[in-house]
């Protein structure tokens, strides 16, 4: 990997720092090579952003060169120097990628790297003869590098809207299928015809989207600047703003499936279920400080109890109405949650993570096992779980079930919010902060912890119950460890202890990957990279609670060493 080159001694020649520029060029070229070797480039090349003009793959490659130019260009130096180094490093990056294309064939790299095939070599040569392909690629790199360098010198008020507009255009291209489906057969069909062709944006469409987005963003940036200045003058504007923010989020959540149709409804339904689970886990981890990696167990209990009580299946014990079965399922989850909590009461911190993970795994293995097959159906699960109905009005479509989930999430959110500021919430805070002191103040650790497990499990059980009717069946394969990991990740990415954070985290970590379903396995690559970057730049989460933010920053400030700038910059 070319990262080792980072350590190369830097020699300063003339005004362009050649060594550094080379390093950056090679580094970003390495990123390009990586994208090619992993197969992302090939996959992205099958998708148009602008039909006939720009594929996603080349777009990403261009972005890589652009970044190369951007980071090599130093603001301290003059524009011309920066431009020169931008061009140089962009060209180097382009060269690196091209060279990969050239060596694929002769060295038969495909025998080891499965993605490095002739087709990729062709696409890296831009379909031209090898040498001319290399030269063109070099040129593209240089141009993109130059743009990057110039971008660095653009004032923030222009750069931001530019970036936003570019993002919007790419989004419009990337999600073209969804957007086209939304626009189709409605009053907006002319818009669709204007900007889209059947598999992506047209050139004029891309230009329109870019310009419109740019203008809107320009205005938006100006307004928010003014707003920020006003807010700085008026101290107490924050609470009002956060209310509008919550209102906005809520409005979007209510209206989105109406225009997006069943698929968006289905995705949001999953998002909603994770929000429910996230709120439950948030009680445990965020408020009570109990790290739980076995959360999926409660989810499984809720789902299985609902199925056993309502399903039209030989395994079912009763055939109750969903509305009767659901509270029983929630109650069962609470009981399991409490029982779950008892053995691990004395276990703290990271030991708790392992203990709970073990409990979750035990639930999963038992559910799938032949030993429990007579009771739970084994790998074949329980099918034919009927959909619920309200006064004879069946909740059958994903959108209807989504609204059920939304209502449940709101109730759960209200409960979580009330608890947070209550006597119990303060006791949890105390336990989280210092168990010994809490006990010395008369807080019953056992009671409080078990309440956290029980209440957290209730939310997960509710989610499980809805999950069972959503699928109309339950299978043990749905209750893997990765569900627990996802829930934990979403509350931390969202901002621990914060309720809007749970919603944001779920939208980002569950909703987005769902929308990117066609990228298959690569979604997890993006997911991994996103987790790393988000945690680097916002370790407190996207929408942190105030107390949590303080805890984090206090812990970072206490150090004798200087705090790491990247973490601080957030």
């Amino acid at each position: 990997m070319s990262i080792a080159i980072l350590k190369a001694p830097s020699v300063s020649v003339a005004s362009v720092d050649v060594a550094r520029t080379l390093r950056m060029g090679l580094l970003l070229g390495g990123v390009g090579v990586y994208l090619a070797a992993v197969g992302i480039l090939a996959m992205f090349n099958e998708r148009w952003i602008i039909v006939g003009l720009l594929t996603l793959g080349y777009g990403v490659l261009g972005l890589v060169y652009l970044v190369a130019g951007m980071i090599s260009a130093r603001r301290g130096a003059g524009l011309m120097t920066a431009l020169a180094s931008g061009i140089l490093s962009g060209a180097i990056a382009g060269l690196t990628v091209s060279v990969l294309g050239l060596v694929i064939g002769p060295f038969s790299l495909q025998s080891v790297f499965t993605q490095l095939n002739g087709k990729l070599a062709d696409s890296l040569a831009l379909g031209l003869a090898p040498l001319s392909g290399l030269l063109v690629m070099l040129g593209i790199g240089a141009v993109c590098g130059a743009i990057g360098a110039i971008l660095r010198f653009t004032p923030l008020t222009v750069r931001r809207p530019l970036v936003i507009a570019a993002l919007v255009t790419v989004t419009a291209g990337l999600f073209q299928e969804l957007i086209q489906i939304m626009l189709q057969d409605g009053p907006l069909t002319p818009v669709q015809d204007l900007i889209y062709e059947w598999e992506g944006l047209t050139a004029q469409g891309a230009a329109i989207v870019f310009v419109v987005a740019f203008i809107l963003a320009l205005i938006g940036v100006q307004i928010s600047r003014r707003r920020a200045r006003a807010a700085a003058a008026k101290a107490n504007a924050d609470s009002g703003q956060s209310l509008t923010k919550m209102g906005m989020i809520f409005l979007v959540l209510v209206l989105l499936p109406l225009m997006g149709g069943n698929y968006i409804g289905q995705v949001l339904l999953l998002v909603g279920l994770y929000i429910l689970m996230g709120m439950g886990l948030n009680l445990e981890v965020g408020l009570a400080g109990l790290l739980d990696l076995g959360f999926v167990g409660f989810f499984a209990v809720g789902a299985y109890v609902t199925a056993l009580l309502t399903a039209n299946h030989p395994m079912a014990i009763l055939h109750l109405n969903f509305w009767v079965a659901m509270p029983i399922a929630v109650l069962a989850s609470v009981v399991v949650g409490v029982l779950f909590g008892i053995p691990v009461l004395g276990v703290r911190g990271d030991y708790l993570a392992v203990a709970t993970m073990g409990l979750g795994e035990i639930v999963r293995v038992l559910v799938v096992s032949d030993a429990a097959k007579p009771l739970l159906g084994g790998p074949l699960g329980i099918t034919q779980v009927p959909k619920p109905a309200i006064f004879g009005y069946g909740l059958t479509t994903p959108i209807q079930l989504y609204y059920l989930t939304l209502v449940a999430s709101l109730v759960a959110g209200l409960i979580a919010w009330r608890l947070e500021g209550s006597r119990l919430g303060r006791a949890w805070m105390a336990l989280r902060d210092d168990e010994d002191v809490a006990a010395a103040l008369g807080i019953d650790r056992i009671e409080c912890k078990l309440l956290a497990y029980g209440l957290g499990a209730a939310f997960a059980g509710l989610a499980g119950s809805i999950f069972a009717v959503m699928l109309a069946s339950v299978y043990p394969s749905s209750f893997q460890l990765v569900v627990s990991i996802n829930v934990l990740a979403l509350i931390i990415v969202g901002g621990m202890g914060s309720l809007p954070g749970v919603a944001i985290g779920s939208l980002v970590l569950i909703g987005l990957p769902e929308l990117l379903r066609e990228f298959g396995e690569y979604r997890y690559l993006f997911y991994g990279v996103a987790l790393i970057f988000m945690m680097q730049f916002r370790p407190e989460g996207l929408m942190p609670s105030k107390v949590r933010k303080r805890e984090l920053h206090a812990a970072m400030g206490e150090t004798s060493e200087p705090a790491v700038p990247t973490a601080r910059a957030a």
Binding site: Q110, T114, Q115, N117, R160, I164, I181, Q184, D185, G186, P187, L188, W198, L216, A217, G220, V221, I223, S224, R227, A228, M248, L251, V252, L255, L256, M259, G261, N262, Y263, I264, G265, Q266, V267, L270, V365, V368, S369, D370, G378, P379, L380, G381, T383, P398, M470, L471, S473, Y475, P476, S477, S478, E514, R517, E518, F519, G520, E521, R523, Y524
Partner: protein
């Protein structure tokens, strides 16, 4: 500063969405120009030059990736063989990931169903995804053709009407399990067996059905064992099985566990000479690659695909596969996916009508009905659907691996057909 900007962007997006919703609710959908076909379930119009969109959902992430990836490749080869065109329109395969889970299948199916241009859907590979996904597709009038989902209930005579839109170009476990049990007792001369499943629906159903059939024939199942698909150390289990002294071990597992089993059986005292018998999922080049030398001698049941039975094109198909994807087939269902794609395209060709405007019109119900009338010699055997959507009839055969070189993988030569 950054969050502020994001927020402002969020506001404008939200406002845009709200505005959009209002426009949507005010509007009424309007119909297109007169269509040359009438269909009770709806007509799909494909404008001139626009692609025929074939949906697909397979597992393309997680531990079972190879299963779905293999199907994707099979379908891609089929479409490439057609010159990427159907009736002059390009073919677009929209592959979604079902993660081999019911919720994944449901989401993927919902996404495919939400696209009004989805003509027909291929997949899935996993029965659990099919159980959840196929009804959603059929609800939208879309037929789907399973490629490796072998659960008997999917095409059972008493299947639910919601599954009416589901067909498959793969046999049912009920058939293969019954055959396997019979073969084990009658042909292989086993009087006692041990079955091993890995907790997947596929594996546990096969183990159960085969066990039942074996008992019906007069044999004895000494023990029905189970493992986790991720287990690598099977020696304790095998040591246990050795004490039971079975004649054969029946283990319809997936690639990873099979490879471990085959290797470790030979290393377990008392089991050195006990044969392991497998099933369809184990007919894969990937298994050779994963097992190495220990694969030689491994017997498995698989549809009879010898040239006299069918599949003349298979060796050529294999060549294309290696050329396009740089490796030997990674699982055992590429041929079924190929057949599913061919079936879908044949049905489209049969019912699609050209309109006056040059667009292609396809009636959904007509397409569904057409699927049941087509028959052809596919890559994985004769394709002809019965009224419950069972399009591949199992003509079972037993194969045995004869070489540990992945490059030699070819059903018929390695594994070599040894029965009938």
């Amino acid at each position: 500063m950054r969050p502020k900007k994001l927020r402002s962007w969020g506001y404008s997006t939200a406002a845009g969405i709200v505005a959009g919703v209002f426009c949507m609710t005010l509007a009424q959908p309007f119909a297109h120009a007169a269509s040359p076909v009438e269909d009770p379930m709806g007509v799909i119009r494909i404008p001139k030059g626009a692609p025929v969109q074939i949906g697909a959902y397979w597992v393309i992430s997680g531990p079972d990736t190879a299963l779905g990836e293999d199907s994707v490749r099979g379908a891609k080869i089929a479409i490439a063989d057609l010159g990427d065109k159907v009736l002059g329109h390009p073919v677009k395969l929209n592959v979604e990931d079902d993660q081999c889970t019911p919720e994944g299948g449901q989401t993927a199916a919902t996404k495919l169903a939400a696209n009004p241009n989805t003509v027909i859907v291929l997949g899935p590979a996993c029965s659990s995804a099919a159980t959840a996904g196929a009804p959603i597709l059929w609800n939208a009038g879309i037929s789907s053709i399973g490629t490796a989902s072998t659960a008997p209930s999917l095409t059972a005579a008493d299947r639910k009407p919601e599954l009416a839109g589901f067909l498959r170009t793969i046999y049912s476990d009920a058939q293969s399990g019954a055959n396997d049990g019979k073969w084990l007792y009658k042909e292989a001369g086993a009087k006692t067996i041990v079955t091993i499943n890995d907790g997947s629906p596929y594996s546990s159903e096969l183990a159960r059905v085969t066990g039942e059939s074996f008992i019906k024939e007069g044999g004895k199942v000494l023990s029905a064992e189970a493992i986790q698909p991720t287990d690598v150390d099977l020696k304790p289990l095998l040591t246990h099985i050795a004490t039971l002294k079975p004649d054969k071990i029946y283990a319809p597992l997936f690639v990873a566990a099979t490879a471990q089993l085959l290797r470790q059986v030979k290393e377990t005292p008392g089991l050195e000479n006990v044969e392991v018998i497998g099933e369809g999922a184990q007919a894969a080049g990937a298994l050779i690659e994963a097992t190495g030398q220990a694969i030689v001698g491994f017997k498995l049941a698989y549809p009879d695909v010898s040239p006299d039975a069918m599949g003349k094109g298979y060796p050529g198909f294999l060549e294309k596969y290696k050329k396009m994807f740089g490796e030997a087939p990674i699982s055992g269902y590429h041929a079924n996916a190929y057949d599913a794609a061919v079936l879908a395209v044949k049905a489209i060709e049969q019912v699609a009508k050209q309109g006056d405007d040059g667009a292609l019109y396809i009636g959904k119900k007509a397409l569904h009905d057409a699927l049941f009338t087509i028959s052809f010699e596919g890559m994985g055997g004769t394709v002809k659907c019965n009224q419950y959507g069972q399009c591949a009839q199992l003509k079972s055969a037993i194969y045995q691996y004869v070489s540990a070189d992945p490059a030699t993988f070819s059903i018929g030569t390695n594994p070599k057909k040894i029965w009938p």
